[in-house]
């Protein structure tokens, strides 16, 4: 992995992308699963992962702006 790819911003983007991919997989599964529990799965795990991914990305933007000379 190159030095650029391992920069804090890149790591944050990768982390956010993976969290959101997990959220999407769970959302698709919950949408296709016809059970009353699907909503809990969607909200409890999928929603949490999506929130973490989005917040992680926004925080990385803020911190990269803050550290810019």
């Amino acid at each position: 992995m190159s030095a650029t790819a391992a920069s804090p911003m890149n790591r944050a983007i990768r982390r956010s992308a993976l969290l959101l991919l997990g959220a999407f997989v769970i959302e698709v599964f919950s949408l296709l699963w016809k059970s009353p529990l699907a909503f809990f799965l969607f909200l409890g795990i999928g929603g949490l992962l999506a929130l973490l991914g989005m917040v992680s990305y926004l925080l990385s933007l803020v911190s990269s702006e803050a550290t810019r000379p």
Binding site: A17, L21, K34, P36, L43
Partner: protein, 210 residues
């Protein structure tokens, strides 16, 4: 699969592909186009997907199939198919007085401010009790059935207002409107689901089961 659900899955698939690219090559965000793409895939698309997913789940929870999918609700689903039209729920279901695919939700939502929200919150609790608690032998309504839920559709309809039963000395339209006389517990329409009397009852079979 509905068009909305197909569009939602399409959006998720598209965003998923971009996310895989971003996870594999985060360097692409160094360019302006990459930054815009990252913002769309990491913020806008997930926001839309969560909103769309929540809407789809809430819409699904209104379906008769959803309500009767819990074991405790199966007899209530069966009661919609009783051939005897004295059964109020069956008469409404079989004669399309309520949409068959939203039969439970149509009658068991308070037609008041936040009625839908309250129904949803109660529904969440019911799912939890069904899977992780103990379902009571006899299921009761939280509150006595409010005439308002009947009058939401019936008020103003000719057959309802001109019915001799609704214009008698004992029961007047004003009494029904004010809730002084209950539609379901005053002896007029008191056979609603009667799930404890379903054994051996003849069923109407030409309808699609919920």
């Amino acid at each position: 699969m509905t068009v909305t659900l197909a569009l939602l899955l399409g959006l998720i698939a598209l965003a998923g592909v971009v996310l895989i690219v971003l996870a594999a090559r985060p360097d692409v965000t160094r360019s302006t186009e990459g930054k815009i793409l990252a913002f769309l895939a990491l913020f806008v698309a997930p926001g839309l997907a969560v909103y769309g997913g929540a809407t789809a789940h809430l819409e699904r929870s209104k379906s008769t199939e959803f309500c009767t999918s819990c074991h405790a609700m199966e007899p209530y689903g069966m009661s919609l198919h009783v051939k005897d039209t004295e059964y109020l729920a069956a008469a409404h279901f079989q004669n399309n007085r309520v949409p068959r695919d939203h039969a439970c939700y149509t009658c068991h939502t308070d037609y008041a401010l936040f009625g839908g929200v309250r129904s949803k919150l109660r529904g969440l609790r019911h799912v939890m009790v069904n899977y992780f608690g103990s379902v009571p032998d006899t299921i009761h309504l939280y509150n006595p059935y409010n005439n308002r839920e009947c009058l939401h559709c019936h008020l103003g309809s000719r057959s309802y207002e001109e019915s001799s039963g609704h214009q008698g000395e004992e029961v007047s339209l004003a009494d029904l409107r004010s809730g002084k006389v209950s539609c379901t517990t005053s002896g007029c329409h008191d056979v609603v689901h009667d799930v404890h009397r379903l054994k051996g009852v003849e069923m109407w079979t030409s309808a699609e089961k919920p």
